[in-house]
């Protein structure tokens, strides 16, 4: 290619700046909404969304939400198109937040399309979204704790799986989910410490160390589940945590079932999001953590113990992943199945990245992943003409889309993944 001709670099540079690409992506969303959903909805079909739940503490009843399907899809498409146009002409300040909004719009359009002419319990799905977002949010929080001090924790999956296993065994043996939760915490702490020792003391490449822990955890839990749980079924029948409705708050329509009528582990997740935020940005410890993650040498020259900070943070990250692991068993059906975490730990990592390494951002991102996941389950009820396997792909595909849409911009802690070598 002769220099000076209109080559790909030139085209990309002159005509395809990142802002424009994003704008085009937004427009593609609009087109997708119109072409995928609109033609398949009969004119005048209504989508009926139930806002009341029938289980748990019944909130104050509200009328169902009934929307005209075609018009709503059309409108959602218009919103997406408008956002695309705005992005192309003016540009938004926070394109990644916009991507989140667009994903939600797309999922809503999908929902309206699937519900057209039928009825669907929206509150039920939202409540299920929170539940499905919970392990992902634990993963994201665990990631925040580790990566803010610059240790990449790709072992969240393995930590969750191991904790899910130990929590079930201990809870079954003792008959108390609290002992099970404690076992999960201990398991998470131990694995967090193992990762920390490998990454800090032995300076093993952090992704490889994490992968080793994952493989080890998958192997060990499957191994023990084959050799023990198949023989001792009684060890795989744990009492689980029951939803605890908060008086009054649980009665709020829609929000009540989502946030105030959930089990202990979900409440712990909510609390951890807030606590992590406060610690990270408003305490001495958080300031030091962030400094260690951004510029360990600077922290070291000010007398901050870089290694100790990392050990503690990664161990706490492990504990959080451990509690997340207990959710799969004690927060759910109370039994362990092989590889039951199904990539939730990794999705949690993606949520952390999407949330720009902040606890609140990570929580919001988890919510979107949870939405995709919940939708996929509920769609089976509506008998959508899409093979279930493809619906099952949804959370993973959303993760890929989100990662590729935002990472170019999100800035990780500057020292992320690099061992600190003290002379």
């Amino acid at each position: 290619m002769a220099p000076g001709t209109l080559d790909w670099a030139t085209i990309r540079h002159r005509y395809l700046r990142r802002e424009q690409v994003l704008g085009i992506v937004y427009l593609l969303f609009a087109i997708a909404i119109w072409t995928l959903f609109l033609p398949h909805v009969e004119a005048g079909a209504k989508a009926k969304f139930g806002l009341n739940v029938v289980t748990g503490v019944k909130p104050i009843p509200v009328p169902d939400l009934v929307v005209p399907a075609r018009e709503t899809i059309l409108l959602l498409g218009f919103i997406a198109a408008f956002m695309g146009g705005w992005q192309l002409s003016r540009g938004f300040k926070e394109p990644q937040a916009l991507l989140a909004v667009l994903l939600v719009i797309f999922l809503l359009a999908f929902l309206v399309w699937a519900t057209a002419g039928k009825s669907f319990n929206l509150t039920g799905m939202l409540a299920s979204t929170v539940l499905r977002a919970t392990p992902i949010a634990f993963g994201a929080l665990s990631g925040v704790w580790c990566e803010r001090t610059a240790v990449i924790n790709i072992a969240i999956e393995g930590m969750m799986l191991s904790s899910a296993f130990t929590s079930v065994v201990i809870a079954s043996a003792t008959g108390s989910p609290y002992w099970g939760l404690l076992a999960a915490i201990v398991t998470g702490a131990v694995l967090g410490l193992v990762l920390a020792v490998l990454a800090i003391r032995f300076r093993v490449d952090q992704i490889i160390a994490g992968t080793a822990i994952n493989i080890f955890a998958i192997g060990l839990t499957s191994f023990l589940s084959h050799s023990w749980l198949s023989v001792r079924q009684d060890l795989n029948a744990a009492p689980n945590f029951k939803p605890i409705p908060i008086p009054l708050l649980a009665k709020i329509p829609v929000l009540g079932p989502m946030f105030f009528d959930v089990n202990l582990i979900v409440y712990i997740m909510f609390a951890l999001v807030i606590i992590t935020h406060i610690i990270l940005f408003h305490t001495r410890w958080g300031l030091r953590m962030r400094a260690v993650g951004e510029h360990p040498k600077a922290a070291d020259t000010l007398g901050i113990n870089v290694y100790l900070t990392r050990y503690i943070s990664v161990t706490i990250g492990g504990i959080i992943a451990g509690i997340g692991g207990a959710y799969f068993t004690l927060g759910s059906v109370g039994r362990f199945d092989e590889v039951m975490t199904a990539g939730k730990g990794f999705i949690g990592l993606a949520a952390m990245i999407f949330g720009k390494w902040t606890p609140i951002g990570g929580f919001i991102a988890s919510f979107i992943f949870g939405l995709a996941d919940a939708l996929q389950v509920k769609m089976a009820i509506l008998r959508v003409p899409i093979p279930s396997e493809f619906l099952l792909m949804a959370p993973y595909l959303v993760t890929i889309i989100v990662l590729s849409g935002v990472v170019g911009r999100a800035v990780p802690p500057a020292a992320d993944g690099q061992p600190y070598v003290k002379e």
Partner: protein, 427 residues
């Protein structure tokens, strides 16, 4: 010399064993290269004894009396270990006296049945190691470009699906056309699948570790769909129709042995990967991007192109891994046809130091472990997942030589755990 310089030197001293090796005597090279993996395996096997013991609930119950009757407990445990490791070795290598016996009978009487049965262990080892070689090469090639392809398992599924489809849907072709066609389809499908991750990495910065893992799940669901839908054989089970004989990798040993031409194909491909990485300009670029992407850019190489190329070649190798399994052993595809070859491959690449020769040796070892573990499961009732436990430990030990040095109190092991693949999540 600035301290930073010094640090970087320490970092990089061991990254190129091949080049650095030229200045050392050969025995030091062998020692340097082989000692660590050897000790890592030994340590992992030794530690797995613990898991063997706790896997046996009766034996575990016996351990409560370890203080009152230590002799009984220990002898019972040792017996269990003897049984287990005995099964491992005979499962992977066979019984030497049986082989000798078989050989004698064959020479004396011309009756080969005894010999053939006695060779089953070695046969299994070689057959198991075949997909390992491909998969290990896939990860190794990625490592050389600074990419961590954890998606080998998914690429392997996709490759197997494509090869299976070509294998059963086209009928009446001569083998000389059908077999290469099916192999190419498998490689190509794997390449395309993993090139997605390469493309995303190159143009959006999405980290390949997360995207390849997500693509794994998508691939699994896709194969579920294909095997219960479009590719389903008539009948109840979600399996594909059988592959036409013309697409089989030729079998090179009589039944019940399974040894097939895939093994030799794997060796040829391993040599090709060596040539590609060290004797071609493409390989030079890939290795440069892996060793120092900034310098690669300075030297006029396209990082994006090399990411995509390396991922595609890596995916092609992964695809061949699944393909060789389908065309050489199974001859049809089932939902759980792969027993985690893709994940094992990470350990293989690390153990083999991302060098094709190392990968081949590590794969042979792993084939042996897998063959032995299968026997261990039937003979000593030890779940086959023990292989994964050993794997996790081996990865740790290989990646943290200081740990092995600490356990074995050996200084000769070179420090080299500092090779950094991780470059954060962004660029």
């Amino acid at each position: 010399m600035s301290t930073q310089e010094k640090k970087r030197q320490e970092h990089n001293k061991e990254q190129q064993p091949a080049e650095a090796a030229k200045t050392l005597p050969w025995w030091r090279v062998v020692l340097d290269v082989a000692l660590l993996p050897f000790l890592a395996i030994i340590t992992a096997l030794a530690l797995s004894s613990i898991f063997i013991i706790i896997s046996d609930t009766e034996l575990l119950a016996l351990w409560r009396h370890v203080f009152s009757e230590p002799g009984v407990v220990l002898s019972a445990s040792l017996k269990k270990l003897e049984l287990s490791y005995g099964a491992l070795i005979s499962g992977g290598l066979g019984n030497p006296s049986a082989i000798w016996d078989g050989l004698r009978t064959w020479i004396q009487t011309g009756d080969s049945t005894k010999l053939i049965t006695s060779l089953e262990g070695i046969d299994r080892t070689l057959v198991y190691s075949t997909p390992y070689i491909f998969a290990g090469l896939a990860v190794a090639l990625g490592f050389r470009c600074g990419l961590f392809n954890i998606g080998v398992e998914g690429q392997l599924f996709v490759g197997a699906m494509a090869a299976t489809y070509i294998g059963y849907s086209i009928k009446g072709l001569p083998m000389l056309i059908h077999l290469p066609l099916a192999l190419t389809a498998g490689a190509l499908a794997g390449a395309i699948w993993s090139a997605i991750a390469g493309l995303l990495k190159a143009y959006t910065g999405a980290h390949e570790v997360v995207t390849t893992i997500m693509l794994n799940y998508v691939a699994f669901r896709l194969s579920d769909y294909m095997l219960t839908g479009p590719m389903k054989r008539s009948g109840f089970n979600p399996v594909s129709p059988p592959v036409e004989k013309s697409a089989w990798l030729p079998k090179l040993a009589p039944d019940p042995l399974r040894f097939h031409a895939g093994f030799f194909l794997a060796l040829i491909v391993a040599y090709f990967v060596y040539w590609f990485l060290w004797k071609s300009t493409w390989g030079f670029e890939i290795r440069t991007v892996g060793a120092n992407p900034n310098a690669a850019r300075y030297a006029g190489m396209s990082i994006a192109k090399n990411f995509i190329l390396a991922m595609a070649v890596s995916g092609a190798l992964a695809g061949l891994s699944g393909t060789s399994e389908i065309l050489g052993v199974n001859h049809f595809m089932a939902q759980a046809f792969s027993s985690g070859y893709g994940f094992d491959s990470i350990a293989l690449a690390l153990l083999g130091k991302s060098h094709p020769l190392g990968v081949v040796l590590a794969s042979l070892l792993w084939g042996f472990l897998r063959a032995g573990a299968t026997r261990m499961q039937s003979a000593a009732d030890i779940p086959i997942d023990i292989v994964q436990i050993i794997q996790g430990m081996v990865i740790v030990f290989v990646a943290a030589p200081a740990l092995v040095r600490m356990i074995w109190r050996i200084r000769a092991i070179a420090e080299e755990g500092e090779t950094i693949f991780t470059r954060g999540w962004g660029t």
